[in-house]
């Protein structure tokens, strides 16, 4: 039998856009984010404040509805410098991406970190949120976090 060769057939999937309804908790979060505010929700039982907010407390399993505003300043919980894009290809410019604990919140929010060299980033770095000039539909309303005291 002849040597096997393989024919590749590229992407022939029809475009499949998805429209996920964000739900009432993230709706409130994104609405407030577009007004340059961070909103969380507090558990009535243990007092934990979740930012972004969600329905059930992870430990108590009770429904939360006590919305609270948290400050746009906080500290860096964890971070990574992304040299690759989502599909693994190399990025031209690395992106610093982190989990930020805002003052008053007990969980971390994701966001890009700018205004500091990647080598200088440390866990615990004091940060402040910088909002987009024009608000977006979801996370685009938040532009990035910058080291506190630096401003936009």
């Amino acid at each position: 039998m002849s040597e096997k060769q393989f024919i590749p057939i590229g992407n022939i999937l029809p475009p499949m856009p998805c429209y996920w309804s964000v739900g009432p908790y993230l709706e409130r979060f994104y609405q407030d984010l577009s007004e340059k505010k961070f909103t969380g929700v507090r558990c009535p039982k243990c007092g934990r404040v979740y930012v972004p907010p969600r329905r059930l407390c992870a430990s108590c399993r009770v429904v939360m509805s006590d919305f609270v505003e948290v400050k746009g300043t906080g500290s860096l919980l964890n971070f990574t410098v992304a040299h690759q894009s989502v599909n693994g290809a190399r990025r031209e410019r690395p992106v610093i991406f982190g989990l930020v604990k805002l003052e008053g919140a007990d969980t971390g929010v994701l966001g890009e970190i700018r205004g500091i060299a990647p080598e200088a980033v440390r866990i615990g770095l004091k940060l402040q949120a910088v909002f987009a000039e024009k608000p977006g539909v979801t996370v685009e309303s938040l532009s990035h976090f910058a080291p506190a005291g630096q401003g936009a």
Partner: protein
């Protein structure tokens, strides 16, 4: 009486199935089948155990669970086993003209071939309808040499 729960509408977060796929399959089988189209021939493979003839050719017989090596030929005409008429595209948008797709059993084959039906009105379609392959004027040994199937008249 219980008050109906108010339906809450929230914004949509947009996304997509965002992975690039690149499926591969054996070209020696496809190449041989496609090359024969130039001569208006439909090749097939035959299972030496159960005798089933597969057109387009299969590399395996699923029932007997063996590899197939025996090539044979089937006619370029046969009968419609099943068909469907589409009035909308995959997206849901209406089509300018209805599209007929049929499963055709070519004479000599056991397996059915999926193909579009042209020059035939939906009202003319029925299971058992005799059809024949349309061939491109200039054939190059590519899949496009087959120009749909149409009803025998």
């Amino acid at each position: 009486m219980e008050e109906k729960k108010k339906r809450i509408v929230t914004r949509d977060a947009l996304g997509a199935w965002d992975v690039k796929y690149n499926w591969h399959f054996r070209s020696d089988f496809m190449d041989r089948y496609v090359a024969a189209l130039k001569d208006k021939k439909f090749l097939a493979t035959r299972c030496h155990q159960c005798g089933r003839v597969y057109s387009p050719p299969m590399t395996r017989c699923g029932r007997c669970f063996i590899e197939l090596h025996e090539w044979t030929e089937v006619k370029d005409r046969g009968k419609v086993v099943m068909y469907t008429v589409a009035y909308n595209a995959i997206s849901g948008e209406p089509l300018p003209e209805p599209k007929i797709t049929a499963l055709i059993q070519l004479d000599g084959a056991n397996a059915w071939m999926l193909a579009p039906i042209k020059n035939t009105k939906p009202e003319e379609m029925h299971t058992g309808l005799r059809v024949h392959a349309g061939w491109a004027e200039e054939r190059k040994g590519i899949l496009a040499d087959i120009n749909g199937f149409e009803a025998d008249r």
